[in-house]
């Protein structure tokens, strides 16, 4: 035990120190509590208010997610964009797929796993909130943080391309249609990945397990789908892409950007776009699936938090 136990033994003489007092000020209740949890979780997501390592990891991944945008902007500054475009908005997520997966894996493990590991949940649930409020605040914080690697690089690239265009007005006329899909896919991507992340972290308490779980959810179904579609001819096997989050996110992205591939010739399964073209489902299916997956993952996670632990 360090320090004396009694307040009398603290002659520090702060003028305003009137000691512990009963509280009769305002109590802002449930909404304020949820907002506080959301804001703290969001700060923690970027490693703010934590050690050096979480900051390095978070901002390192964000930087990596920006690299395609930076390369494109530099290219656009040198070569006029109407002559050469290094990366189109609808391809962006495919470049940073693994970074998004790593980001959501680390984040969900931090935001949800830490509370479980340290037993803080019992304290949160002794506050004037409901269990579902906790899950909503955490999911909202995670999805908001995800925007840093989904929406933000796209918006920056959009702005950079615009500034680099030789004729700004002409460029907007040609590319302005992309802005809506950029916002829509950014939001949807963040929400769906955050739901899957929360689900993994709610079940895998140990940090390493949670990270591995998230990566398994993204990579294993993706690789399986690529291979199965490539080697098999049966009509049934093409449904396997429905169970791969990467194919689903790519599918709705391409569809929302109106860039859904229509080529159905037989090709090697190396490229996601080729596989999506080959299995030949209407693009809107992937949008519906994204909502279904996000919803199911969120619901299971919410039920998990609802049961007393």
């Amino acid at each position: 035990m360090t320090g004396p136990a009694t307040t009398e033994a603290a002659p520090r003489g702060e003028i305003y120190d009137i000691g512990y007092q009963p509280y009769d000020g305002p109590r802002l209740g449930r909404a304020f509590a949820i907002r506080s949890l959301y804001l703290l979780s969001l700060r923690n997501a970027f490693g703010l208010g934590r050690g050096a390592l979480p900051k390095v990891v978070a901002f390192g991944l964000i930087l990596l997610a920006f690299i395609p945008a930076i390369v494109q902007i530099i290219t656009a500054a040198v070569v006029p964009i109407d002559e050469f475009e290094f990366i189109r908005p609808h391809e962006y997520y495919q470049f940073i797929q693994i970074i998004m997966a790593l980001f959501v894996a680390g984040l969900s493990s931090d935001l949800v796993g830490n509370d479980r590991r340290h037993g803080v949940l019992a304290l949160y649930f002794s506050r004037p909130i409901l269990r579902v409020d906790y899950a909503v605040a955490k999911l909202a914080a995670l999805a908001t943080a995800m925007l840093a690697v989904t929406l933000l690089p796209q918006v920056v690239m959009f702005g950079g391309n615009w500034l680099g265009a030789s004729d700004a007005w002409e460029w907007v006329k040609a590319n302005g249609d992309d802005f809506g899909p950029i916002i829509a896919t950014g939001l949807l991507m963040s929400l769906m990945l955050a739901s899957l992340g929360i689900l993994c972290a709610a079940y895998a308490v140990r940090r390493s397990l949670a990270v591995i779980a998230v990566l398994v959810v993204f990579i294993v179904p993706w690789a399986t789908a690529q291979i199965v579609v490539d080697v098999s001819d049966a009509d049934l096997t093409r449904y396997i892409v429905f169970f791969s989050p990467v194919h689903v996110t790519t599918g709705f992205t391409l569809w929302l950007f109106d860039a859904f591939p229509t080529v159905t010739f037989r090709s090697a399964g190396g490229d996601i776009e080729d596989v999506l073209a080959f299995v030949d489902f209407p693009g809107v299916v992937y949008l519906v699936l994204a909502f279904v997956y996000g919803g199911i993952a969120g619901l299971i996670a919410f039920t998990r938090f609802r049961s007393p632990s």
């Binding site: 360090t2 000020g25 449930r30 304020f32 934590r50 002794s126 506050r127």
Partner: protein, 311 residues
């Protein structure tokens, strides 16, 4: 006002009945909740906080229903859980501010009250350090601070002295007593150590295997009878028999005779004892009166199940 009221409260888990038709009514004050490990103390606290739904029955805390108004209850109640619950990478100060806000206290008030509360529990400069480096005693203080910071009207402390050394235990009990008495905050404190409860609490609730064994003010429970202890040089059994014949039920144990008597009859009983000793021509070595202690209550009527204390 009634602080806590339960009616036929039942909580069953698959295969286990944690609470078995528990009915009680408790006035404000410092209340001790006693029972062996697994008696249902933590379950009762969790139901009263609205963290766990009861299987059947009703419970009210500060006149609010735990089933429908748990959010309102938790706004004005503090809770110190039994297990570890502190995120090590935060400092005590950051953490308690956050917990105050989670209770709905506006940010500026949360900051002020955090400083005051941490000082109250005896944490000073170390409150800006990461909690992972704290001793068990410091961690218990932070746990108490987070339960107090929002100015609750009632505190639930689940085994607050768990894991503390004797000195830390004393300091924690002092702190709990001061918190209850100086600020008029009612406290429900669970413990499996009777002497802790006796030292701090005014009211006692004893549960075992989910059933209520005893509830009441500790002074009432211990003052019902006084014990008169008589020590003579020989023939103690003869003295005991003679006293019993005169309407003072006594038991002999070696050279000692013990009498249980009404506290108001002590003077009269002493006279009878002295007269009997003289009549039997014995030498009186000792004549002593003492108040019953909580321990005596349990020795007189051992609770079912046997294993009463495992400290």
């Amino acid at each position: 006002m009634v602080l806590i009221e339960t009616q036929d409260l039942v909580k069953s888990y698959p295969g286990v009945t944690a609470l078995d038709s528990l009915s009680l009514s408790v006035e404000p004050g410092i209340i001790g909740l006693v029972g062996p490990n697994g008696a249902g103390k933590s379950t009762l606290i969790k139901i009263l906080l609205g963290l766990v739904p009861a299987t059947s029955g009703q419970a009210h805390v500060l006149e609010a229903d735990t089933a429908g108004e748990s959010v309102r209850i938790r706004e004005i109640v503090g809770y110190l859980p039994e297990h570890d619950c502190l995120p090590g990478e935060l400092s005590a100060s950051e953490f308690v501010v956050h917990m105050a806000r989670m209770s709905g206290i506006p940010t500026s008030a949360a900051r002020e009250r955090t400083a005051e509360t941490l000082r109250h529990v005896g944490l000073y400069e170390e409150r800006y350090r990461q909690m992972s480096g704290y001793s068990t005693g410091m961690k218990q203080r932070v746990k108490l601070a987070q339960a107090l910071v929002h100015g609750p009207r009632l505190l639930f402390l689940d085994e607050p002295t768990n894991g503390l050394d004797p000195e830390g235990r004393d300091e924690m009990l002092d702190l709990i007593e001061r918190t209850g008495n100086e600020f008029g905050i009612s406290i429900v404190m669970s413990s499996h150590l009777l002497n802790e409860i006796e030292r701090v609490c005014e009211t006692l609730i004893v549960i075992e295997e989910g059933k209520l064994l005893q509830a009441g003010r500790i002074s009432d429970l211990t003052d019902i009878t006084s014990i008169l202890l008589v020590e003579v040089d020989e023939r103690a059994d003869e003295l005991a028999r003679r006293l019993t014949e005169q309407g003072l039920p006594a038991t002999a144990d070696g050279r000692r005779v013990e009498l249980e008597i009404d506290p108001e009859q002590v003077a009269l009983a002493q006279e009878v004892v002295v007269q009997s000793v003289v009549d039997l021509n014995l030498s009186l070595l000792r004549l002593e009166q003492r108040r019953r202690q909580l321990e005596d209550l349990f020795e007189a009527a051992p609770p079912p199940g046997g294993t009463r204390q495992e400290s």
